[in-house]
């Protein structure tokens, strides 16, 4: 009932483990898949190992989580071992990568493909790392160029994770489409800050962070709706998906799949199974037998 097909990938259900959450080692990726995710997305991996920022890197705030990990990752060379242990179990794993230019993105994408990733996710939207993510993902020309270059380098689908921190998200979405991208993931966490009243300073070591969780769901749904109205390539909704109803909202806005991250904090690692069960119950009540039956109804 929940099976989907997205850019040639057939998944058992439309929930994916979002990048940045429990995606740095093989064990946690495997656990997320065994907890019901349809696919898992790795932590964003760069060319070199990166330690990330000192703590505090994440706190719970009103209606969500604020984090600024700073893209810690073991580097693409060492990540091969983690990928091997996941891929040998035939788990659909999407390799998330970050870089500062098109050439580096291409190198990383090729490596991920070599490791057996079923697709690539370009991180064009991390809100808290200088020179990466959002800093390049807000320029449509750069985005178009990166997607084009990566598409030339690999044969697996290439998704681009983009940010709501732009004046016009459709402009970025169109740049992805023009570059030949296979899909869009919207949205990444939203650039935010929390100032502590005791210390009178930002609580995160890096001061700025990314806001995720239920507080950003309406922003994510709006972005998916806007994108789905104007572009043809598939969209994966992300931002505050906690329950089956949240996933359904994104799908009504036109998304083919959803990503789940912060909800693991609120509902545990088996949140994927819970969301799927809630979706099925809703579909049964409403007489739908497949995701495509109600996808994009809000746009019509």
């Amino acid at each position: 009932m929940l099976e989907i097909e997205i850019s040639g990938l057939r998944l058992r259900n439309p929930t994916m483990l979002a990048s940045g959450v429990m995606g740095e080692c093989s064990g946690s990726l495997i656990r997320a898949y065994r907890s019901g995710a349809g696919a898992v997305v790795t932590k964003s991996i760069g060319l070199e190992p990166r330690e990330g920022y000192p703590n505090p890197t994440a706190v719970e705030i009103e209606c969500g989580i604020l984090n600024s990990m700073g893209l810690p990752n073991p580097g693409i060379d060492e990540f091969g071992e983690e990928m091997r242990e996941v891929v040998e179990l035939e788990i659909p794993v999407i390799g998330s990568i970050f870089a500062g230019d098109a050439e580096s993105f291409s190198i990383l994408a090729k490596r991920m493909q070599g490791y057996g990733a079923c697709a690539i996710e370009l991180n064009l939207s991390c809100p808290h790392a200088r020179g990466y993510g959002l800093e390049i993902g807000t320029d449509p020309d750069l985005v178009r160029g990166i997607v084009k270059e990566v598409k030339r380098s690999v044969s697996i689908p290439v998704f681009s994770k983009i940010s709501a921190n732009v004046a016009d998200i459709v402009e970025i979405g169109k740049a992805v489409e023009e570059g030949g991208g296979d899909g869009i993931v919207a949205i990444n966490s939203v650039k935010a800050m929390k100032i502590d009243l005791s210390t009178k300073k930002p609580i995160l070591f890096n001061r700025f962070g990314g806001y995720s969780g239920r507080g950003i769901k309406p922003i994510g749904v709006r972005c998916v709706y806007e994108l789905a109205s104007e572009i043809e390539i598939p969209i994966i909704g992300a931002g505050g998906v906690e329950k089956g109803e949240d996933a359904i909202e994104y799908i009504l806005a036109g998304a083919k799949a959803v990503q789940v991250g912060s909800a693991i904090f609120y509902r545990g690692i088996d949140v994927f199974r819970k969301i799927c069960k809630e979706m099925e119950e809703w579909m049964e009540r409403n007489g739908y037998s497949s995701i495509e039956d109600f996808r994009g109804l809000a746009l019509k």
């Binding site: 940045g20 959450v21 429990m22 995606g23 740095e24 080692c25 064990g27 946690s28 990726l29 495997i30 656990r31 997320a32 065994r34 932590k43 190992p49 990166r50 330690e51 990330g52 000192p54 703590n55 505090p56 890197t57 994440a58 706190v59 719970e60 705030i61 989580i65 984090n67 990990m69 810690p72 990752n73 073991p74 580097g75 060492e78 071992e81 502590d196 005791s198 210390t199 300073k201 609580i203 070591f205 991250g261 912060s262 693991i264 904090f265 690692i269």
Partner: protein, 263 residues
């Protein structure tokens, strides 16, 4: 809310040349084995197990090892730290005869469990291992509770040797129902293997690099995605026996595997 609460330090106690305890007000419920994320404003936020559970305050006990503990070491009564927690799970005492094995600063994490075992009227043996006499602490406190055995690498206090060797003799004499341990991972792994051979209940407080403390970032995972900050830090023998990385490798702050050396 899993968010730091800033509190004033009520007392500081020097335990030895490199180890101090910091006390702060805490009145909610907390189990031996649980931990706090301690914020040193502007420097870092680090995990620390509770080392004393009193009526209206608790303590953390630490050795000077890096920037954050160096700064904590210099803190005095009235200074402010952030606390987030208690986080994770606690020790579960099983059986009547409990052997506690601590290596290095591991005694700080298991001391409250020793207190609890005493309250429950258990037979208690505590083995504390350290490099030298100067690295030992909590001896008086443990001596009051049960049978204490001290072992040092250089023989400067107690027996000369390793805590795991002393533990082996005790486990092999069939005198214990449960072993609770915290210390260097190779030590804990050796004890785990001994307990598995003899079907002795086993619990260990496992240390990993903890970042978010929310169960999200995945930095502290062992085995098949077990989060030390959520499902841990205390794991039982069955669980750890299934973790191929336990006693084999840990991960640094970038997530790279760092293989453990024997010894």
């Amino acid at each position: 809310m899993n968010y730091p609460r800033f509190v004033r330090i009520t007392r500081v106690v020097r335990e030895n040349r490199n180890v101090k305890s910091i006390f702060f007000p805490f009145e909610s419920s907390i189990d031996p084995g649980q931990f706090f994320m301690i914020t040193i404003p502007g420097i870092d936020e680090i995990p620390m197990s509770v080392s004393r559970i009193l009526d209206k305050e608790v303590s953390i006990t630490f050795r000077k090892v890096g920037d954050a503990t160096e700064r904590l070491f210099g803190m005095r009564e009235g200074d402010i730290i952030g606390i987030r927690g208690p986080l994770g799970n606690g020790f579960r005492i099983e059986g009547d005869r409990i052997l506690f094995v601590a290596g290095g600063t591991g005694i700080a994490s298991i001391a409250p469990a020793v207190d609890l075992a005493k309250e429950l009227g258990k037979d208690i043996i505590v083995v504390i291992g350290a490099r030298t006499r100067e690295d030992l602490f909590f001896l008086e406190r443990m001596k009051k509770i049960g049978k204490l055995m001290v072992v040092t690498d250089d023989g400067s206090a107690g027996r000369k040797g390793l805590a795991s060797d002393v533990a082996k003799e005790i486990i092999e004499s069939n005198k214990v129902d449960q072993v609770i341990t915290c210390g260097p991972e190779m030590m804990m792994k050796k004890i785990l293997d001994l307990c598995r051979e003899r079907s002795v209940d086993f619990q260990a407080s496992v240390e990993r690099y903890i970042k978010c403390g929310l169960g999200l970032c995945g930095q502290c995972c062992i085995g098949e995605g077990l989060r030390v900050c959520i499902e841990g830090p205390v794991f039982d023998g069955d669980t750890l026996a299934r973790c191929a990385d336990f006693g084999h490798y840990q991960r640094d702050s970038s997530g790279r595997r760092v293989y453990l050396k024997d010894g």
